[in-house]
């Protein structure tokens, strides 16, 4: 018997793949991230179609229940993403600081100079 969540899972997976492909085509995603995300989406589709397969993986890893394994993997994945985003923001902050400092140095006494030019 096919459960409702299986349809939803497959649907989410397909939508996910379409979105990542679109983002890759627009140049907003690197090839590496495209691969990572598509593997995640394909796994979701496979697990939705064959829910029993998680049970086998679970016994393989010793977790016990298939659903538990998915939860554990999901949480680890989320932490990894948070870490990545945190580092990205830190880099962006550094770049902004660099720009701001550069602008400040280039515009030394800018308004004073403008005043002088206006007077001349």
């Amino acid at each position: 018997m096919v459960m409702v969540y299986q349809y939803i899972g497959v649907l989410i997976g397909i939508i996910g793949i379409i979105f990542t492909l679109l983002r890759f085509r627009e140049g907003k995603m690197s090839l590496g991230m495209l691969l990572v995300w598509n593997i995640i989406w394909i796994l979701i589709i496979i697990i939705s179609i064959f829910p029993q397969s998680t049970g086998e993986f679970a016994t393989l890893t010793g977790v016990g229940r298939g659903l538990d394994l998915i939860f554990i993997l999901g949480i680890i994945g989320c932490y990894y993403l948070i870490f990545k985003i945190y580092n990205m923001i830190e880099n962006i902050e550094q770049e902004i600081t660099h720009l701001v400092r550069e602008i400040a140095l280039q515009r030394e006494n800018i308004e004073l100079k403008e005043d002088e030019e206006n007077q001349n």
Partner: protein
């Protein structure tokens, strides 16, 4: 309030015995209340000033600009279009001073907490060639309790993380010679910069001296600088740096 001690004429030279070029580096963020007085006193002492406005939302920029107009060639104003923190501000100031071939750079807080009379003693070890960096040491016994505690914690943290033992790691009054300023590699954007400077002094094997300075406590200057919250933020940053 600021203590009125400058009865000296405009021609008063800070160091008649030396012709080293000294630039004051003054970071300012929302300092409209006192920065005018502070800068005026420093100009009167014959010092050259570099002021960096770190994206203030008050009148700081305007006040400094008007003052600098009255002292052509002796003051430079830089503006961060958005607020980026003390570390970034000091970095901009040091870079600007290096471009002006400063022999000695002195960082000085804009909130009126330092006594300009302390600039000479802080510069002296550099002028006499004994040190590359001088840190002005505030008297912890005169500090209000909560300030004292957070500064002691910062000293401890600086010691644990950077293995550098100094009497006052968070002091805003410091002097660098050209070599030291050039060697400094500052990453920290915010208040952690003070500890980072101590780390750099140690890593780059710079000669350091510590000189006691006076601190003028006002309600205003007390509301700024290191407090427990900032201390905690600095701690988190240092842990991150180690994990990186």
């Amino acid at each position: 309030m600021l203590i009125e001690t400058d009865k000296k004429p405009d021609s008063y030279k800070l160091f008649p015995e030396s012709d080293l070029l000294i630039w004051m580096i003054i970071p300012a963020y929302n300092e409209e209340k006192f920065i005018g007085d502070v800068l005026e006193r420093l100009f009167k002492m014959g010092l050259n000033l570099i002021v960096i406005d770190d994206g203030s939302r008050d009148n700081t920029y305007q006040i400094v600009q008007d003052l600098i107009k009255d002292h052509p060639g002796r003051g430079y104003l830089y503006q961060h279009p958005i607020n980026r923190g003390l570390g970034a501000t000091l970095k901009t100031g040091i870079e600007a001073a290096l471009k002006k071939n400063a022999d000695i750079m002195v960082t000085f807080d804009a909130d009126g907490q330092h006594n300009p009379e302390d600039i000479l003693p802080v510069c002296r070890p550099i002028i006499e060639g004994r040190a590359d960096v001088v840190i002005g040491i505030r008297d912890f016994n005169e500090m209000p309790q909560h300030k004292k505690r957070s500064n002691q914690i910062m000293n401890l943290i600086t010691r644990i993380f950077y293995n550098a033992n100094v009497k006052d790691s968070q002091s805003g009054l410091r002097a660098f010679n050209y070599k030291a300023a050039k060697a400094l590699d500052i990453e920290s954007r915010e208040y952690g910069v003070s500890s980072e400077i101590i780390r750099e002094i140690k890593h780059k094997n710079l000669r350091m001296e510590e000189v006691p300075i006076e601190t003028i406590y006002t309600d205003y200057s007390l509301s700024k600088g290191t407090n427990a919250k900032i201390g905690f933020k600095i701690l988190v940053k240092m842990i991150r740096e180690i994990l990186r």
